[in-house]
Amino acid sequence: MRSVASFLMFVVFGIVLNLLVMPNANAEELDVFGYFEPQFIFLYQNGNSYQMNSDKLRLDLQSSASNVEFGADVIYNLYFGKKSWNILDFLPSEIVDEVPSGMRSYFRYTFNDTLYLDNVYVRMSNSRIACIFGKQQISLGTGYFSNPVDVFNLKDAMDPTYEQTGHNSARLDIMLLNRTSVMFLYSPIESDWNNSGKLFRLKVGLGHFDFVLTGYEFQDKLTDFYSLSVTNERRRLTGCEFVGEIFGLGIWGEGAYNFMEISDDYYEFLLGSDYTFESGLYVLLEYHRNGRGKTRYEDYNVNDWLRFYLGESKTIAQDQMYALINYPVTDLIDLQLMSIFSISDGSAAVVPVINYNIFENVDLNIMGNVYTGGEGKVYNSKLGNGVVIRARAYF
């Protein structure tokens, strides 16, 4: 009932805002669009097969009048099939044995139907300055599979281009020169200024290259899953990025050094390259090092696994390689093969993908995933192999 009320509030908010915007000069009508996305997941794990499915509806509202733009989207997720999971079922048995039996129920997770405002913002701009207030998309970094400088989003390496939810913030972009800009962002995460996020970014274009320097201070959290206690500490990230090309190869990289208030400082970086052959075959490779990751899989513990699954850390292992091969079989069908290889423990995940633009406004994606590693490794076969079938109909 609350969900329906929230949805109606969203629609009313959009209409009221449109009425406010409409009387202005050059006003445009409220644009309503979005998509419906049914998804079926089949999983085969430890001799058992499961299915977990979802229906997702995204409704976007957009309106602009001269230098003011309003945008918002609301997402409704409906889950069916197996909705309740216990994260411990996916962990190596020696790790599960470390968890006291009385605490095992804490690791159960249920996918409940949700309705939420994904983004809602107002953007005011002139030719040199843009201010955006509200819940908005913030994407940083040049990496494809992972972004060391991006602490706002955690990409799913199996599906790295999937949209991310918005973040509450106030953002100011200033264009200093052609291809030179600065960005200031304030993200009021905590109750006061000191503990909220403050970001500065300088972007400079030189020749065929773009360079970025980033500084970000915010309150980070780290959970100890043995004691179920949370440590909050200030994290200061300094990062740099580049993207360009050498000898016809696309190259990019990004690195971050994190100064931690309590825990040990650590670094993270990623280097990538891509090339498109005359036939249309596209190849992308990325190397990623997470200074906080472990080098021996025998050292992985409960904290490593759960921080990874719950999004507190990007990887469990220190070094990984990502590869993507894409080939357009026809103008409407692409075949893809993605692979994530954990150099530190020798395990890998292979993800074959078919992308088919089946109708003018309907995309069909079929993704498989196969884990090859032995017991205890990051991409171990205990995680189960599966298929995701996803259709997306735009309106």
Partner: protein
Amino acid sequence: MLRKVLLIFVFIVCFGLIAEETGEAITAEEIIRTMTETLNPEQSEAVMEMTITTSGDQERTFVYKTYSKNGGEKSLMKYLEPGRVKNQAILMLNNADDIWMYFPGTNRVRKLATHAKKQKVQGSDFSYEDLGSSNEFEDDYKSVLLGEEEKEGKLCYKLELTGKKDSDAGYSRLVAWVEKESYVPLVIDYYHEKDPELLEKELVLSNVKTIDGIPTPMKMIMYNKLDNTKTSMSFRELTYDVDLPDNLFTEMGMKK
């Protein structure tokens, strides 16, 4: 007196003939330069419709807004339709030597390296280079005037353009029929990069109208002879009488 008048008459006729002869001695380079200037006015703003017909006869239609400046050296495309690409944008600077793509779903801008220039835009028969490079005919090809020929019912210059050594030419040679009156190319045949006898694509331009004083082909169809596909592009709206700010051709401009 009569002899003087006759002499003057003969002089005028001869001078006229010489002048006319001199006017016709236009070079291939001059034709290509005038054609390039005609096709790439200083600035433009347009809404275009692109329809791709696949080898299986399926159609996909895209509508996008396009801006260009400095005779096409800078260009920006913003997709309006269909929903799956709505608000996506492509920025091309330095005649498509630098390409950025904006994905609104993640608010991410991705820079494409030049190897992507020759790739199809949204699966069409036009490459990024075809859409964003305004100087390729002059810079990448050496042109020869083969003569005059009637094409599509119009008298045309027939030219052959051969890829220069060490250039970035995407084709081994081109044969173009450029209308004498308007300097608009009516047909351009593109031959395969590795086989100068293999016809890869044929571009047919039609429905030439004068917009803001500039002759403009309102419809273009690119036939891919190897894949048996075609892509047509037509203007829904077009003006050359605009003053576009440089800041439009930036990352900020892509997102606006």
